[in-house]
């Protein structure tokens, strides 16, 4: 039987601000299956960004356990987490977070460069994914020569170019108009299905949640 992509059990996360300890997550249980297109929603301060960061291994848990594709990764050190992010995860940010000095092609190529993919293979993979996101003619442009929707397509291509197990997306449609947001969501979902990639998306955009297979609602550090 296939393991869940993400399996969180009683995950706890605290932050210390001055002398005060704030519990951002208070025992979260969550399962995400392969090819799931799931959203986490909730008001500001509910803990959805923290949960997203934990699932994306860019923040560590203080209690509970985290299994990724059946492997317990709760206690991995930073270097091992980096290797997992590099090989098995993609990220899409609200503000696109493209590297301004790199062309569209270079931005999408970067994760492959990190994975030491041979040059010819890199070129083929980048061209293919740019074609899939509809940016074939934009490869040499810089991010500042693109619209918001195009930038987010580049970010999607960058996240998916290595066909990862999981893509973490933080408010990917927050800065986009309705039509563009719809297209972006549809693009993410269709590519996710084609590549076998699961999506975990933090959002409070109903346009996004309508397309999701699962919606986790966060409230005060727990999934309601």
């Amino acid at each position: 039987m296939e393991h869940p992509v993400i399996e969180l059990n009683q995950v706890v996360k605290h932050y210390r601000i001055g002398d005060n300890q704030i519990s951002a997550l208070r025992g979260v249980d969550l399962q995400l299956q392969a090819r799931d297109f799931a959203a986490i929603r909730g008001p500001s301060g509910s803990g959805k960004s923290t949960l997203l960061n934990i699932c994306g291994l860019i923040d560590r848990i203080d209690g509970g356990s985290y299994r990724l594709a059946g492997e317990d990764i709760s206690e991995l050190d930073e270097a091992a987490c980096t290797e997992i992010r590099r090989k098995r995860m993609g990220f899409i940010f609200q503000n696109y977070n493209l590297v301004p000095v790199m062309s569209v092609f270079d931005n999408v190529e970067y994760p492959l460069l990190l994975n030491n993919v041979p040059k010819a293979e890199r070129r083929a993979l980048v061209s293919d994914i740019l074609d899939k996101v509809g940016l074939t003619g934009f490869a040499e442009r810089k991010p500042d020569q693109l619209s918001g929707g195009q930038r987010q397509r580049v970010a999607i291509a960058r996240a998916l170019v290595k066909a990862p197990l999981l893509v973490i997306a933080d408010e990917p449609t927050a800065n986009l108009d309705t039509d563009t947001a719809e297209h972006i969501v549809e693009l993410m979902k269709s590519l996710g299905h084609r590549l076998g990639t699961s999506f975990l998306i933090a959002t409070h955009d109903d346009r996004m949640t309508r397309h999701c297979d699962k919606v986790f609602s966060m409230q005060d550090g727990v999934i309601a």
Partner: protein
Amino acid sequence: MNHIQLAWKNVLRNRRRSFVTIFIAAVGCASILIAGGFALWTYDILIEGASREFGHITVADKSFFAKEEETPMQFGMQQDNRVAEYLEKNPEVATLLPRINYSGLISNGDKSLIFLGTGAELAREAAVRKYFLVVREGAIPRGEPSQLPQILLGVALARNLGAKVGSQLTLIGTTAATGGINAVDVEVAALVSTGWSEVDKRLVFSDIQTAQNLLMTDKISTLSVFMHHLDKVPAMLETLAAYDGEHAYMPWWEQAQYYHSVRALYNRIFGLLGMIIIALVLFSVINTLAMAVVERTREIGTLRALGAHPREIIAQFVREGGIIGLAGVMIGNLVAAAVIWTLPYLRLQMPPPPGRSEGYPLLVAGSPTLTLVTNALIVLLCMGAAWAVSRRAASKPIVDALGHV
């Protein structure tokens, strides 16, 4: 795209700031090459001056360098000896010059002054000393017949004696054998300068025969050996010591006290200058790269999220530092080369150093070793600065880096 191309793009990200940093690295590199090259040129002049004055190797009696002579020529040696014969036949040797060191009084009849004399083969001596023995008036005698023995007189001594070219003077000295007084009449053939005002006040060059007549001896003081190649001197010293243990062999560097003093002084001065330049370059590069790192903190967070290890982020900045350093040294080398090649045409003179009456040409030596060391130092400095400033940002928690505004 590869990592070097990415580093180049990042260097060009803020062109003005990068160019200023490259400019500072270039100025630092050129300054070190020019200042260091000037010191090397000075050392070369001093080495040449010392070796032309003393010879690359001075052959003398065993006691000559160890003890003070109580009577003239006490530690003299025969001009024709086994070592001299060997050296004359040795292809590494360019010239052999016998010399007699003596002193006494020089008189114009009314006034007598102390002189320090050298008996030598005057034409060959002048040729060997070249621009370290400048003829101010008259000409070097080349064996032309004359009524009186001819001498070269220091310009300051001539001025004090009121002597001119053609003046007849008397050399008075102590004889070698008995310690009695002897005198020889001489004629001034030329007024010369060594560039040392204190030396020129006492300077007399005579031929060997005149010096031997005055001292009543058939000996010489030393035999100066001039070789074709300076770097062969140590080997020749070993060969001579093995060949003939009857004599002492003194290399030029053990007699060149002024060279060692200047070198020690310049090493400190230019060493300190170099350290100041290095510090300025270092602070400038650190400042520029620190600004770049702060501005790119969010980007660093993104790259870390995408799977870049902190060491890979640091390596990226180190490559950028390396590119800045390389660009800086390339420009610095060009500037230094332009200065080195232009200076001889400008014919600039340095003022006379303390104790000297003559200045010397302002030139800069081009040294491959200095260039290599300086280039490596500047590039490593830039890379080190990049490493130092990027370490903290690369290790910052990704969540904090992504939230950086």
